[in-house]
Symmetry: C2
Subunit: 373 residues, 2 copies
C-alpha cells in the first residue's frame, strides 16, 4: 500500500471513523483503524463491535495511488501525528513487514501495524429498502431526545432511543422513566414496513456529531439486529438493543387542567437562577407556584438559604397550582426548544408536567413532578 | 449592612478574592468571603490561612451605602448567583439574623451567613519599605519559571519559587532538581535589604492570574514569614516556605562545548511532532543528534514505532553530539520564550542542557539529559 494525500482530507475522515473506537475496548485489533486502498479509493474503518464507522475517500481526492493494499494502523496518536505534519501532502507507505511509513517534509513516522486479515469481517451492505430522512431533521431529532435516556445499566433498553415508523410518520422517543422526550417527524415518502427498534444512545449520539452538512439526506437501512445509516461518504452501522420498548404513548396525558404560556428565554433564565440554591444543579429541586398572571419559582436548602424569582405568563384559567420538579430535568427540557414561547401543561402536583412549543407540536417533553412535603 | 452595587463591579472583585478559597479547606468559616462595609467602601476578604486576598471597592464605585456592617457569606454558588442576576444593579441587605438578602429585579436570594467576628484576624498592614516592580515584569517572571517547581510533597521547599534580591537585581528561580528556570530582573530602584525567600508556587500562580492590567506597578512588602503584594485595589498576602533554598547558581555551567542557534518555532513544532511516539507526551523521551547543519530529533517506542524530524541550525563548530531528554521538559522550556531564535548550550550527553534566547540573557532554562543505552 502506497499513496499520498492532502492532510486535511484524510484527517477529517479519520476523525469521523475514530469515534467508533471505544476507550474501554479490550480487543487489541479494534483499537486500530483499517486502511483499505484499491483503485477506486481509500476506505477507513473503525469498530467497537457494537458500532462500526466506515469512510470512503474517492480516488479523485487522493493525490496519488501507487500500490493498493490494506493494513490496520493501531496507534492512539495517529490523529495527532497527522494533525502535526509539517506539509500539506502526506505520504503513506507500508513496507514488507507490518509497518507503515508516514512522511511529510523532513518528518517521518514508522508505526507498527496489524494484519488486515485479522480484522473482524463486518457486513455493511445495504438493505433492499431504506428510509430517507433529511440530515437536519435527523440531527435535531437526536439532540431533542437523547438527553432523556436512562444512564442506569439495570434497564438497558432505556439506554437507547426508540424509533417507530408507520407509513410516513416517524416517532423518536427516549425515557428514563422519570422523564420522556418524544419527537414526531413526517417523512417525504412512506416506508413499507412497520418499524419499532431501539438504538443505543451512545451510538446514535456519535452519528449526531458526525453529521455536519445538514442540507444532505441520510439513508436508514433497517435490519433485524442492526441499523445502517448512509450519510455522504460515510457508513455508520449500529447494533440494536433487543427487547420490546415500553408503550410510551399511554404515559402522555391528553387533557390538562392548567395550560400556561410563557416566554422560553425568561423562564429558562429564571429556572437557572433559582436552581443555584442547593448542593448541585443536578440534584436541586424547584417549586413552582402558578397563578393567573405569573409563575413564582423558589428553591430552599435549609442549611444554605433560599432563592426566588418571578416570570409573567398567560394562563387558561384563574386556578392556582403548586408543583415541584428537578431543576436539571427542566433545564434539559427547555434546552431542547428553540421557539420564542412554550406551553406548560399540568393537572395536579403529582401528575406529569408536559412542555411543548407554542408554535409546533412535533416535540413533546414530559417530566414527573417531585412530591415535597 | 445594606448597599447596592453594579453587578460587574462586585463580580470582578469576588472572582479575584475567591481564588484564595481552597477546595481542600476543612475550616468552615474559611469557605466564606468576608464582606466589610464602612463609609469609605466595601472590603472583600478570602483566605485559606496560607493565602489571603483582600479587595477594596471604593465608595465612588458603589451605587448606595445605606447601613455599614460586616458579615461572612459562605456559599459556593455566590459567584454564580451574582453572575445570573437579571438586572445591572444588585441590592445586598443583612437582616437581624445571620442572613443576607441579595435582590435584583424580581429575583431574590436569602443566604445563611456566618458572624464576621468569628473570622480569623489577619494582619495585612504594609511593611516600612517595599520593592516596586512592574506588573508586566512580575507576571512574565512567574509564567517563565513556575512550571519548573516540584510537585513532590517530599521536598516542600522545591514546591516554591525562590526570590533573591540584592541591590537592584532580582533573581527568580524554580527547580524540581531535574530542571531549573531562572529569570533575572533589574529593578528601577535598589532595595536596602538582602532578600532570599521562597513563595509557594500555588499562591504566586494565583497572583499571576489576578494581574490583568500589565501597565500598573506592584508593591512587594517582605516580612519574616510572609509577603504582601499590593496591586491596584488588591492586597495579596502569602506565607513563605521555611528553610534555605539550594544554592542553584552552581548548577548552571559557565562554559559550553556545543552552542547551537535554532529558530524557536521550527524547533518547537518538531519537538511536538516527535514527542507523539510513546505512552504519553509527559513521559516520552526524545533523542537529539546534532551535527554542524542540523538537528535530527527522534523518538522510539519498541511496541509502537518511531518518529523523526529535522531542523536546520547554525553551530559553533563541526563536533557532533547525541543527547536525550524528556519531551515534556523541553516543551515547557520552549513555551517560556517569545523570541525568534534560541540558543541551546551543551557539553556532553550527561551534562545539563541550557536554553536561552538569542537576543536576551535574562532567562536561563536548564534541563538534565536522560541517559539512554
Amino acid at each position: 500500500m502506497k499513496f499520498s494525500i492532502n492532510k486535511n482530507v484524510i484527517l477529517e475522515q479519520l476523525q469521523y471513523v475514530s469515534k467508533a473506537i471505544s476507550p474501554k475496548n479490550i480487543i487489541n485489533i479494534l483499537n486500530g483503524i483499517k486502511f483499505e486502498l484499491d483503485s477506486k479509493g481509500l476506505s477507513l474503518t473503525a469498530s467497537d463491535s457494537n458500532l462500526t464507522i466506515k469512510a470512503f475517500i474517492d480516488k479523485e481526492k487522493i493525490e496519488s495511488i501507487d500500490t493498493v493494499g490494506s493494513i490496520i494502523v493501531s496507534n492512539k496518536s495517529l490523529l495527532d501525528i497527522i494533525k502535526n505534519m509539517p506539509e500539506d501532502i502526506i505520504k503513506f507507505e507500508v513496507d514488507d513487514g507490518l509497518r507503515i511509513n508516514i512522511k511529510s517534509g523532513e518528518c517521518e513516522f514508522n508505526l507498527n501495524c496489524l494484519n488486515s486479515l485479522d480484522y473482524p469481517d463486518i457486513d455493511m451492505s445495504d438493505n433492499k429498502t431504506h428510509i430517507d430522512i433529511k440530515a437536519e431533521t435527523l440531527k435535531k431529532m437526536i439532540k431533542q431526545t437523547i438527553f432523556a435516556v436512562s444512564v442506569q445499566e439495570s434497564r438497558p433498553l432505556l439506554m437507547g432511543i426508540n424509533i417507530k415508523v408507520n407509513g410516513n410518520i416517524l416517532e423518536c422517543t427516549a425515557t428514563d422513566s422519570y422523564r420522556l422526550a418524544k419527537k414526531t417527524v413526517t417523512l417525504d415518502k412512506p416506508y413499507d414496513e412497520v418499524v419499532d427498534i431501539v438504538i443505543p444512545a451512545s451510538n446514535i449520539g456519535e452519528l449526531e456529531k458526525i453529521i455536519s452538512d445538514e442540507s444532505k439526506n441520510v439513508e436508514m437501512h433497517i435490519f433485524d439486529k442492526k441499523i445502517l445509516f448512509k450519510y455522504e461518504n460515510i457508513l455508520f452501522q449500529s447494533n440494536l438493543l433487543e427487547g420490546s420498548y415500553p408503550n410510551t404513548s399511554s404515559f402522555i396525558p391528553v387533557d390538562f387542567e392548567h395550560i400556561v404560556n410563557v416566554n422560553l428565554n425568561n423562564y429558562y433564565a429564571s429556572i437557572n437562577r433559582v436552581a443555584l440554591i442547593g448542593q448541585s444543579k443536578d440534584k436541586n429541586i424547584i417549586k413552582m407556584d402558578v397563578n393567573e398572571k405569573e409563575i413564582v419559582l423558589s428553591s430552599l436548602a435549609t442549611q444554605i438559604g433560599a432563592g426566588t424569582d418571578k416570570v409573567s405568563i398567560t394562563k387558561n384559567n384563574s386556578e392556582e397550582i403548586s408543583i415541584s420538579f428537578s431543576a436539571k430535568y427542566m433545564i434539559d427540557v427547555l434546552r431542547s426548544f428553540e421557539d420564542e414561547d412554550i406551553i406548560i401543561y399540568m393537572n395536579t402536583d403529582s401528575k406529569p408536567i408536559v412542555v411543548m412549543s407554542a408554535s409546533d407540536d412535533s416535540l413533546v417533553q414530559l417530566i414527573l413532578p417531585i412530591k415535597t412535603f
